[in-house]
Subunit: 437 residues, 2 copies
Amino acid sequence: MYSDKYWEKEEIMPLKEIEELQMKRLRFTLKNAYENVPFYHRKFREAGIKPEDIKKREDMAKVPLTVKEDLRENYPFGLFAVDKKEIIRIHTSSGTSGKPKVVGYTRDDLENWINMVARCLYMVGIRDHDVFQNMVSYTFFTGGLGFHYAAERIGAMVVPSGTGQTEKQIQYMFDFGTTVIHATPSYAMHIKEVAEGMGIDPREIGLRIGCFGAEPWSDNTRKRLEDAYDIKAYDSYGLSEMNGPGVAFECEEQYGLHIWADHYFIEIIDPETLEPVSDGEKGELVLTPLTKQALPLIRYRTGDITYILDEGKCSCGRTHPRIHRILGRSDDMVVIRGINVFPSQIEDVLMRIPEVGDHFQVLITRNGSLDEITVRVEMVDEVFTGELSDFQRIQQKVQRELYKELNLRTNVELVEKGTIERFKLKSKRVIDMRDNL
Amino acid sequence: MYSDKYWEKEEIMPLKEIEELQMKRLRFTLKNAYENVPFYHRKFREAGIKPEDIKKREDMAKVPLTVKEDLRENYPFGLFAVDKKEIIRIHTSSGTSGKPKVVGYTRDDLENWINMVARCLYMVGIRDHDVFQNMVSYTFFTGGLGFHYAAERIGAMVVPSGTGQTEKQIQYMFDFGTTVIHATPSYAMHIKEVAEGMGIDPREIGLRIGCFGAEPWSDNTRKRLEDAYDIKAYDSYGLSEMNGPGVAFECEEQYGLHIWADHYFIEIIDPETLEPVSDGEKGELVLTPLTKQALPLIRYRTGDITYILDEGKCSCGRTHPRIHRILGRSDDMVVIRGINVFPSQIEDVLMRIPEVGDHFQVLITRNGSLDEITVRVEMVDEVFTGELSDFQRIQQKVQRELYKELNLRTNVELVEKGTIERFKLKSKRVIDMRDNL
Ligand SMILES: [Zn+2]
Ligand SMILES: [Zn+2]
C-alpha cells in the first residue's frame, strides 16, 4: 500500500497530471487496437482516422463507438489484441439472448485489475484485520473473483462463500466474525429477511461495511441497508468489458463514485444523438480502457446512465472525477406515454415512504392505445395492523409521490410482505406486457 | 519455473536432502503447534513430550494423532497458530453431520499451496499455451480456487467454469479450444454422456489432458476416460486440511502419485492398531504439514488407504516418494461377513469387463444373521441387442470376477444404461441398509 489512507499514489495525483497520463495511455490503447485487432483496423480506416490523429481529448469524438453487439459478433476472441498464450483468464457474461460476451486478461491486466479493486476496498476502510465475506457468485461472473483477489491482496481474511445456503452463511458471519460483506443489494435484503426468520437481528452480527453492486440501487436502499445491518454501505460500479468491478467506487464521503481516470478514459454521450453531452449533463457512460492489453475496447458504450459531478476536489483527497450512482441502464429505460422512465426513479420514490417495504414490481400493459403502468408495492408488516382507511391514504400517497417524480399517473397496488418473488442476483422489477398483446 | 521440465528445483532434490529438510521443517511445525495452539500444548504435555524430543523420523510415533473431530471440536479457528489478521483465506468442508471443518491460510501458506499445485500441473505437461477449463465448484471447496490459482500462475488461459450448465460448458470447450479439463471423474463421465446426447464425440474437442480427483477412481476408469476424450488422465490427491489439491499427483509415468515430501511428513499407519505399518504395507495415510503457518496439524489422519510404492527413483527424475492411488477411505470401508471391502475394489473389477457400463451401485442388506451384497451394474447398450442367454453369461462372469477379488459371494443384477442415479460431485456407490433393519 502507498499510505495509511491510499492504496496507490495515483489516487491523489494532481488532476492535470492524470489528464496528461490519460492522453499518453490513450495513444497506447488506440495503437494496440489499430495494430492488433483487425476489427478496429477496419473501423478506423472506414472512419478515415489513425491513432496518431487523436491529439487532444476532443478528438475522441471522431473515433467510432463500440457496442455490446460487437463483442458478441466477434465471439469468442475476435477483439483480443494479444495471442491466446498471453491470456491467463477469461470471464463471460451471458446476456438474455445469443452468444455470451467473452473478456480476457493478460497477467498485467489482472495485476492492474486487482489493484484497482484493492484501491476501492482500501478507500472505504477495509484493512488486513477485516473478515471479508464475498457473497456473490464465483466462476464466470467477474464480481466474485474480482473482489476475492483484491480483498486477499489487502490481506483481509476472505471467506469465499458465494451465493445460496443463506442460513449457513448467516451462521458463518457470526462464527467467523465477519466485518465486511459484498453482495448485490437485493441479496443483502434477502439475507436480512432470512436472518429475521431465524430470530437474528442482523445488527448484532458486528458488520462494519457493505459493498453493493451489480444492479442499480438507490440512496434510499442505502439507508435501509445501513439501518438493517448497522453498517456503512458503498456503491460499487464496474462491468466485465472494463475488467469487472473496480471501475468506480464510492469513498467514505458517499457522494458520487470516484472513477479511476488513470485506467479509463471517460465520456458521457447522449444515447440518442451519440454526441458528447455538455459538462455535468446526464447521458450514457462511454469508457475506453487505458491500460488493458488483452481487450482494448474503444469508446465502449456501457449502457449506463449517469453524469459527472462537478464539485471540485473531494474532501477524501482523491483527485479522480466522481460520477453519480447509475440512474438506470439504457436497456432498462421504458418509454411510457412518451415519457422516459427508469426503474431506479420509482425505487427512489418508494424507498422514502416509510410504509413501503423492500420489494416492488412494475407492470406495464396497454389498454387500447394507452399505456398503463401498475406499481405493486409490498407494505411493511406494521401497516396491516391498522385500519382499512389507512390503505387508501397510503395508496394515494404513493400515487402522488410517483406522479411528482415521473409526471405520470400510475395504478398503485398494495400487497403483503412476501408476495413479490425474490431474485438472488438481479432484480427483475419491470414486466413489460405490451409486446404480448 | 525452474526448467522446461520442472516447476521447482525441489522436485529433483536428492532424497537424502529432502529427508534432512523434512526433519528441519518438522521442528518448525511441532514448535509452531506447541507454542501457538493451546490444544497441542495440552496434548503434547499429556503425552509427556516436547517438540525437541523429536530428533529422528521414528520419534514421530510418540506424538499424538489428530483426527477430523479435533477440527470440528475446535470450530472455527481453535487450531489456528496465527492471529486472525495473518489469515487471508479460509475454506470449509462440510461433512455429513455437525460443524464444518474450517481451514485457514497465511499469505506464505497460499504461495506454497499455489506452487505445489503448479508443480503438479507442470509435471503433467500443462504450459502457458494451454486452455484450462476448471469444471469443479469454486467458493468453499479447495479444488476450485486451488487449481484456478495454480493454472493461472503457470500462465494457462483459465476458464473458471465451475459445475453445472453442462451443455454450455461443452460448447465453450469447442469455442475456446480447451486443451485441459479438471473435474471429478464422475462429472467427467456425465459430461461425456451429455456430449453424446448432443451428437458430439468428446474425442473431437481436442483435449490433451484431464486432471481428476476429489473422489476415488480406478485405473480402469482411467482407461475409459482416456478413451472417451482421447486424453491422458491423471489422478490428483489432496484434502483441505493439508491445503487442498496438490498434496500428491501422478507424473507422466502414471505409476503412483508423487507426494511432495518437502511440504509433508508422510506416515502410513494401521487404522486399527494405530501403529506404523511395515515398509510398503497398506494402511491409512497420516500427514503432517511441514511449511504451514496457519494450521500446523500434527499427524493428521487423512482417512485414506494407500501404500508407498518402493520402486526406486521414478524415470521422470523426481525424487519424491510415490503413493498408490487411494484404495478407499477408512469411512468407505464396509465389513461384510468379516471381510473388509472397499468400493474401489468392486469398481476395479467391473471396469475391466467390457460388457459393463460406467455406473454401478452396491446394496448391502442383512438376511437373518447373514450379510448379503448385491451389485447393480449398468450394461453397455450393445448388450441389449444380443440373446437373452448372454445375460446369464455376463452375470456369472461378473460374479466370478468379484469373487476372485473379494472372496465373497455377491448377487449381481444387470440393468440398462441410465437406470442408476448420477451424482455430480461424489459418487454415492454403497447403500448399506443393515442399520435400517
Ligand atoms: Zn472522495
Ligand atoms: Zn515420476
